[in-house]
Symmetry: C2
Subunit: 635 residues, 2 copies
C-alpha cells in the first residue's frame, strides 16, 4: 500500500510552541529598514525616536489678537482704558504667529477696541505670557517621541512630522514563502477536471501573513513529487524568512513534507494535540522556520493561528494583538477528548441582553463554518467538556458592535433567508442577520433556551392539518407571534430526465434516497406522507442518510450520489434537477412578542414586505408571498 508515516505524535499545543520558540529564538534576528515617515503607518519602530526640533519652534500666539509688552499695559481698567500704538506698543497677531522680544503677552481680538488705523484701546492689563504658547509646549527638541517596538498610528505620524522626523527606522517585514502542494490541487482560475481541488488555503495564508505584518509570496501549486517539492523549499530557504508548506503534512502515502524536512533540516514536532489541525509539522532548515500545515481549511486556519502567527511575531515585533475575548453562555453541551485541545466554532448572539454562544459544525473541512462563525470557543486538553448554560470564553473574530446589531435566526433552512439577510445589510447598513440551520424543531428549542430572536418554521400539525401555530401554542408560555413568510412547494428532487422513472413517494423504495435531519420540517412532512401511504421507512435505502439543508440534499442528487431527496422547488431549480410536487406548506417566522420592535426585526419585516425580495422570489420560482410580513399574535 506504499509508504505511510503512520506515526504522528500528539504533542500538547503549549509544549509544541515552546519547543519551537526555543529552537528559533537564537536563529531569528529582527532586522530594520529606514523608510519615509509618511509610509510608516502600522509599522513598528526599531529604536526610540527623539524630536529634532521643538513644537512650537518659537513662542506663539495662542489666540487671534494683539501682542503687547505686559509691563506697558499696567493700569488699564474698564473706566480708564489705555491706548496702545501699533508697532510701538503692539503688533497684530493671528493664532500661531511668533511673539518675540520685547512682546510677552497676547490680548484677544474680542478684548481690543479699534480707535483708528494705528491705535487701539484696552480695558484690562495683560499678565506676562498670557495667551502665548511657549516654545516647546508640545514637543521639546530632544524629547523622546516614540519608544522602541511601537506600532505607528496616524497621530504618531503627526507628531513625528511636528518633531522634524521625516525618516524613521522600522522593523523589516518578514518574507514568507507559501507552497501549495498536491497533484489534485489546481489554481482557482483554471478549469477543473474530475477529482481536481481548487487551491484556496494559500490565498487565505497570503491574507493572514499580510494581516500579521509579513510580506507573502505565494507560489503556484507543486504536484506530489518528492524532488520537486524538495527543490522548491530548498530554493525558498535562500530568499525567504519563513516557509509554509501546505499540505502533505500528515502520514499518508503521498505526504512527503516530513521526509523532505528531515532531509533538509530538523523536524522538531510532527503532530500536535489540537482539533482540528493535528497534522502540523514544525521544522527548522538552514536556520529558518519551515512549517507544514494540514490541508483541510479549518485545520489550516487553526494551525496558522497557533504556530505561524507566533513566529511572524518574532520577526515583526508585533506583540499587541488584541485577542478579542468575551464571556458568553454556552447553548448546548460540548464534549471533547482529553487527547487534544479543541477549537469549536461558535455563533455568538446577543439575545435578551445576554451573549449566547452556539456551537457550529465541528468538521475540519467546513470552511464555511469559519465564515459563518463569530469566533472560537477553546476547550483545553485537560477538559472533557462543558455543560450547557455554563459561561465560556469566546475568542471573537467579528466585532462586538456587529454582534449587537445582529438578528439571530435559528431554525429551518430556506434560500430566501440569505437573500433577506443580504437585503437587510444593504438597506440598513450596520444591521445584520445571522441564520443557523438546525431544522424547525431545533430552532424552537433554541428559542426556548434564549439563543435566538426568531425561528423560521414549517411544521405541519398532523391532527389539525394547520401549519406552525399549534406548535407554538403547545411549546411556549410567553406571548408569541408569527411573522407570516411564504407558501412554498415541497416535492421530490430527482435527477434530470428522471432515469429511474420516479412518479411519487411510493417509488422511493427502489432507489437511493437521501433524507433530512431529525426535526427538520421537510422530514416531518416526509414521515407524514410515508405514514399516509403506509410505507415502512426501513424499506427506503438512505432513509438514515442525512443532509443538513435543501441545497445539500439537492447537491447529492445532482452528483449522482443519491437518486432522490425531498426538498423545495427553489433548491431543485438551483441545482438543475427535476421536481415532482408533493404539497404546499407554510414557511413562517416564530417570534416572541418582546422582540417584535427590535430595530433589526423592523428591518427584517421591511425587507420581507418589500418588492425587491418578491421580485427575487419570482425569479427563483415556487414561492407565494401574499401575506409576507404580516404579524399574527397568539392569543
Amino acid at each position: 500500500m506504499g509508504k505511510r508515516n503512520l506515526y504522528l505524535n500528539n504533542t500538547p499545543v503549549e509544549e509544541a510552541r515552546i519547543i519551537y520558540k526555543n529552537a528559533l529564538k537564537d536563529r531569528i534576528k529582527m532586522e530594520y529598514e529606514e523608510i519615509p515617515t509618511e509610509q510608516s503607518l502600522g509599522r513598528i519602530t526599531t529604536e526610540a525616536v527623539f524630536a529634532l526640533c521643538s513644537s512650537p519652534m518659537f513662542n506663539a500666539a495662542a489666540m487671534d489678537g494683539i501682542a503687547v509688552i505686559a509691563e506697558r499695559t499696567k493700569g488699564a481698567i474698564e473706566r480708564e482704558p489705555l491706548e496702545l500704538k501699533k508697532q510701538e506698543d503692539f503688533i497684530i497677531v493671528d493664532t500661531g504667529d511668533p511673539v518675540k522680544y520685547p512682546y510677552d503677552a497676547v490680548i484677544m481680538a474680542e478684548d481690543v477696541l479699534e480707535i483708528d488705523e494705528s491705535t487701539v484701546s484696552i480695558l484690562e492689563a495683560a499678565a506676562p505670557w498670557q495667551h502665548i504658547r511657549p516654545v516647546g509646549e508640545d514637543i521639546v527638541c530632544g524629547e523622546m517621541l516614540l519608544a522602541s517596538m511601537h506600532k505607528i498610528r496616524p497621530i504618531d505620524i503627526g507628531v513625528l512630522f511636528s518633531g522634524g522626523i521625516t525618516k524613521i527606522k522600522v522593523v523589516k517585514q518578514p518574507k514568507v514563502a507559501i507552497f501549495p502542494t498536491g497533484t489534485e490541487i489546481i489554481e482557482p482560475e483554471s478549469e477543473p477536471k474530475e477529482g481536481d481541488i481548487l487551491e484556496s488555503n494559500s490565498r487565505m495564508f497570503e491574507a493572514m501573513v499580510t494581516s500579521y505584518g509579513g510580506i507573502a509570496h505565494r507560489f503556484p501549486p507543486i504536484e506530489d513529487d518528492y524532488e520537486k517539492i524538495k527543490k522548491a523549499v530548498s530554493d525558498a530557504l535562500v530568499h525567504y524568512d519563513i516557509v509554509i508548506i501546505n499540505a502533505g503534512s500528515s502520514a499518508g502515502t503521498e505526504d512527503y513534507t516530513v521526509h523532505i524536512l528531515r532531509e533538509l533540516g530538523k523536524v522538531l514536532v510532527h503532530g500536535v494535540a489540537i482539533k482540528p489541525g493535528k497534522p502540523v509539522i514544525l521544522a527548522v532548515a538552514k536556520d529558518k522556520p519551515v512549517i507544514g500545515l494540514p490541508g483541510y481549511p479549518v485545520s489550516a486556519y487553526i494551525g496558522f493561528e497557533n504556530f505561524v502567527k507566533p513566529i511572524l511575531t518574532m520577526f515583526s515585533g508585533e506583540y499587541g494583538y488584541e485577542s478579542n475575548q468575551v464571556k458568553a453562555v454556552l447553548s448546548k453541551r460540548l464534549v471533547s477528548s482529553l487527547k487534544h485541545k479543541e477549537y469549536v466554532r461558535v455563533k455568538v448572539g446577543e439575545v435578551g441582553g445576554r451573549l449566547v454562544a452556539s456551537p457550529l459544525s465541528r468538521g475540519a473541512g467546513a470552511a464555511m463554518s469559519l465564515v459563518r462563525a463569530d469566533g472560537f470557543c477553546v476547550i483545553d486538553q485537560n477538559c472533557e467538556g462543558i455543560e450547557a448554560g455554563e459561561s465560556v470564553t469566546v475568542e471573537l473574530y467579528r466585532s462586538m458592535s456587529e454582534i449587537r446589531h445582529t438578528l439571530v435566526s435559528i431554525g429551518s433552512h430556506d434560500l430566501i433567508l440569505d437573500l433577506i439577510g443580504d437585503l437587510m445589510s444593504f438597506h440598513d447598513p450596520g444591521i445584520y442577520m445571522s441564520s443557523t440551520h438546525v431544522g424547525s424543531m431545533g430552532g424552537l428549542m433554541a428559542l426556548k433556551r434564549g439563543e435566538a430572536h426568531m425561528v423560521p418554521i414549517h411544521l405541519l400539525d398532523e391532527e389539525s392539518g394547520v401549519y406552525n401555530l399549534p406548535y407554538l401554542v403547545r411549546l411556549f408560555q410567553e406571548p408569541m407571534s408569527i411573522i407570516k413568510g411564504v407558501k412554498r412547494i415541497q416535492g421530490l428532487m430527482i435527477q434530470k430526465g428522471n432515469p429511474l422513472n420516479i412518479k411519487g413517494i411510493e417509488d422511493l423504495t427502489r432507489c437511493r434516497y437521501v433524507n433530512r435531519q431529525r426535526g427538520a420540517g421537510t422530514r416531518v412532512l416526509f414521515d407524514y406522507k410515508l405514514k399516509l401511504l403506509g410505507i415502512d421507512p426501513l424499506l427506503i435505502t438512505g432513509y438514515g442518510r442525512e443532509a443538513a439543508t435543501h441545497m445539500a440534499a439537492a447537491a447529492l442528487v445532482s452528483s449522482n450520489s443519491a437518486d432522490a431527496a425531498m426538498g423545495i422547488f427553489a433548491a431543485a431549480n438551483a441545482m438543475g434537477l427535476e421536481f415532482l410536487p408533493i404539497g404546499e406548506e407554510e414557511y413562517d417566522f416564530a417570534v416572541p412578542v418582546k422582540y417584535l420592535d427590535l430595530p433589526e426585526m423592523l428591518s427584517f419585516i421591511r425587507v420581507l414586505k418589500g418588492e425587491e425580495l418578491h421580485h427575487r422570489m419570482d425569479q427563483i420560482g415556487g414561492y407565494q408571498y401574499d401575506l409576507a410580513g404580516e404579524i399574527q399574535y397568539l392569543s
Copy 2:
C-alpha cells in the same frame, strides 16, 4: 484690523452631524469596482456573493485508506475477516481523493490488513457513506458565501476561492483631497525659517483616511491667498469625492475657508460645540462634502474623528468600527462647560486589579498628549463635570493587552525615564512603561489614590536633610519600598555665554526666571535654597511662571524667553545651555512592596541595573548610579 469673522456658531455635535448627513445622503453614491479576489482583503462587498461551484466538487475520501462498496463488506467481523481484491472490491484512496460509483464507503488505513500486493483483509463491515465527505458538504454551488456590505477577512478569501470566485465586486474607495493652508506652514522636509511651522496635520489626516478605507491625496501647503485656495479647492471638486481644508477654519483675519466655501457652495455648519475642535466648517460644494478643520493638532484629530470619519463611512460602507470602550475609575475631578462636549485625553492604567483613567493636559495644541494618552474620556455637553472616583467610559485607542502589561509611573520627570521605558520594551517585548510627569508630590498623591505602581521622587526633607524616605514614612501606612535611582546634579540653566553674568541664586532677582510647577522636587529645592539665602520669592520676575518639565524649562531659556531656570545638568546639556551646579540630589522610585514582584517591575529593575542604561547616562552626563536598582524596605 482687517476682516474678521467674529461670528462662530456653537452647534451641538450630534445636531451638526445630522444636519451634514441629511445634506449629503442623496448626494453620496456608493460606487463599486471589480477586483481580483486575492486583492480583496479588507475591502467591502457591494453585493452578495454566490458560490460558482461546490466544495468538495465530488464525493471525497475523508481519510487515507481504501474505498469500498459497502454492500460487499457485509459480514466481516473480527473472528471472520473478509478479503477484498484491489480494483474489484476496493481502490486505495488518500484524503481528498474522489470516491465514485460504485464505491460508497471508505475504510481507514489503520483498519486494513495488507495480505499481498492486491489483497487486503478487513475486520469490520463498512457502513454506506462512512468516511466520505459528500459533494457540497462545505459549500453548495449557488449558496450565498458572503452578504453585501461585508468586510473581507482572510478566511473569506479562502472560501471565495473554494467556491470558484476569482473576481469580486467591492465598494470603491473614496478619494480624499487634503489641502494644508497657511503662509507660515512649510513642508517638514524643508529648512524652517523663523515663524515657520512644520506641516504635520495633513500627514496625520492622510494616515487616518487610509485607516478608514479611503485613498488620500495630500497636496503641498497653500499660502493664505484667497484666490489660490479657491482655485485649488475648485479643481479638487472635479476629481475627488471629499475635500479637507486645514486650517483657516476659524474667524481670524486670514481665515478664508468659510468665505471661499460660501462662494463655491453652501456652508451648513460653522463652529461646533466641541472642545477641543470648535472651529469646524461643514460645507457642500458641487454636491461633494468639503470640510474645514482647525489647525491645532488635537482639534484637528478630534474634528476628523467626529466629522470626516462618518462621511468616509457613507462612501466606503465601513460601519463595523469597534469603538473600544472600557469602564475605568476617574482619578481626579473633571470640570467641563455646558457650552460644549469635551474630549479629555486620559492615561489608563491597570493598577491593583482596577482600571484607572487619569486626565492629561487639555490644551488643543498638545499633540504629544494624544500620543501619550491611551484614550479619550468624553464629557457630554449637558454635563458639568465628573467627580474623582466615579466610573467613566473611556474610548481606548491602545489595546487592552498593552495596558495590562504597562508599568504605570507617575511623578517627577527625568530624561532617564524615557530611556528606561524604551529599554524595557526592547528587551522584554510586550512590556511597557507609561510615565506621567506631575512632580514628586503629585506622584505620591496619585499613588495614594491607587493610580500608579511607582513614583519617581526627589524630595528633600528640610529637617533631616535626608531625601525621599521621610516623606514615605509620613504619608503611607502600607508597606513601602524605595528602589534606588540616581544621584543627579541640580543647578541653574542659563543662556550660553552667560550674558547676564549670573553667579548664583542671589543674581536671579535681576533676570527673567521660569519656575517649575508646585509640588515638583526641583521647586521644593529652589524654595529651600531661597529660604537659606533669605530671598523673597516675590523679588524674582517669573517666579509664578511654570514649566512642567526640566526640558520645557530649558527650552524657554534656550529660546530667550527666560534668562534662567532651575533644572538638571542633562536638560541644560541637551538644550545647549550653560549650567551652574547648585547641589546634588537623590532621584529614587517609591514603590508599594506589593508591586515589587510584578513582571513589569522586575523588567524595570533589570534595566535600571543594566550596563546599557549606565552607558547612556554617562553619555548624557550628570548622573551617579552606584546604587541604581537596589531595594530599600521601609520598616
